[in-house]
Every structure is written in C-alpha cells, then in structure tokens.
Subunit: 101 residues, 2 copies
DNA sequence: TAAACATATGCGATATTTTGCATATGTTAT
DNA sequence: ATAACATATGCAAAATATCGCATATGTTTA
C-alpha cells in the first residue's frame, strides 16, 4: 500500500531527531536485535530518553520489541512498504563516523 | 559522498512538515519547474509561509530557484547523492490523494 | 518478601519550529 | 514616477518537541 502524506510525515519526523536516527542506523547496520541497555551505553544517552525515543520509533512502525525476561530487545520491523524500504536504503548509506560517543 | 548524520537530519527535518513535503511531492510528480504563486494556489497556503518553506527546502539542498522577471521558479535540484535519490524515490511513492485543498 | 535491576511514563521546564503580521525588495506596467 | 504585482524577511506569538526528574511497572535474585 502507498503511504498517505500523513503516514510519511510521521516517518520523517521519527527520523528527524539525532538519537532516533542513530538508533535506526545502528539497528540497520548491525542487522540484529539489541536491548535497551546496550543502546543506552552505545549512544551514551539517559535511560528515560532512549526509552521515549524507542517508543516513537515503534509507533512510527519502524521498530518492534520482544520482551525477554528483564530485558526488552528492539529490532527493525520487517516491511513490504516500498516507502519504508527506500528510507532504510537511504539510512544505510549514512556515514559511520561518530555515531556513539 | 556519504552524508553525515547531521546532513541527514537536516534533510529529514526539511521533509517533516506537511506543506514542505507537499511541495517536494508536487515537484517530483510534475517533473518540471513551478513558480511560487502556483504553489500558493495549489496548496492554499499563505504567501509568507510558502516562501519560508521554500527557503528551508532550498537550504537543505533539495530545491533550486531560477528568477524570471517578476516570478521565481523552483525545481528539484539535480543530485548524485545516493541518499537523496533514495529519499526522492520514497517520496514519489506517496499517495496522490488530498495534497492540495 | 525484599532488594536489585531493566525499562517505561507523567509532568513541568526548556528548546525548537511554525505561524501571522507588517513590511521590505525587486520587477513590470501605466 | 507611481502603481500593481510577486516574493522575501524580521520579529513576536503560538504550537510542538525534547529533556530532566521523579516515580511507576515488571522481572529476577537473594
């Protein structure tokens, strides 16, 4: 299905914040799931902000979560949306330098 | 050249506002230049806002302008950035419904 | 059961973005 | 030169997003 312009805005907004874009970039590039505490460590951001940003990414349809005991893992949601596939390809091109720290 | 994460943020922000996304969608889909007053008419937005949004899109590197007499025409900037090319492909997929009015 | 750990969320403070208005700039027509 | 038209811009107000803190929820370990 083609996205509406409103859908598209939600996705572009989700990707317009640096911590969120770093999370997505990381997940696309490592190509596996990762738990919240690892994201906090890699990006060096407070727990509550990482948590809020993950929620926004999940609501936008970019991520999914799986709860495993104490931990919550996040991973890139599978999609057949051409729109999202193009966005992912774009993100995978972003330069690697200085994403953590 | 690969974009930095900061470059990417500028682009995603530029595309995160509905009037701006509509302008880009329009220009990609008509595949020609268009003058400011036409954009104002099609999108039914005040002149000063259209003008400001065009400026943001131009500064982000998505549009270029050409002044012709009284009028200023805007058009999609040619690029060889793979990142921007993927974004354009994504945008061209967005559903046509209700972009004006 | 209590403590420790991992994550989420409500709310006010702060920062950023967008809007609306007034006005400026530049061009063409009379 | 003046008027009419097309577009741009500065600034304050309004709207929105983000952050920081406190605290809540849920899970495991002692």
């Amino acid at each position: 299905m083609k996205p509406t312009i409103q859908n598209s805005i939600v996705l572009f907004k989700a990707l317009s914040e640096i911590t969120r874009l770093k999370i997505i970039w990381l997940l696309i590039n490592i190509d596996s799931k990762i738990c919240v505490s690892e994201i906090i460590e890699v990006l060096n951001q407070p727990q509550y902000n990482v948590s809020k940003h993950l929620r926004i990414l999940r609501k936008a349809g970019l991520l999914e979560e799986s709860k495993e005991g104490k931990w919550v893992y996040y991973y890139i949601k599978e999609t057949d949306s051409e729109f999202i596939l193009h966005l992912k390809k774009a993100i995978s091109i972003i330069s690697e330098k200085r994403h953590g720290c």
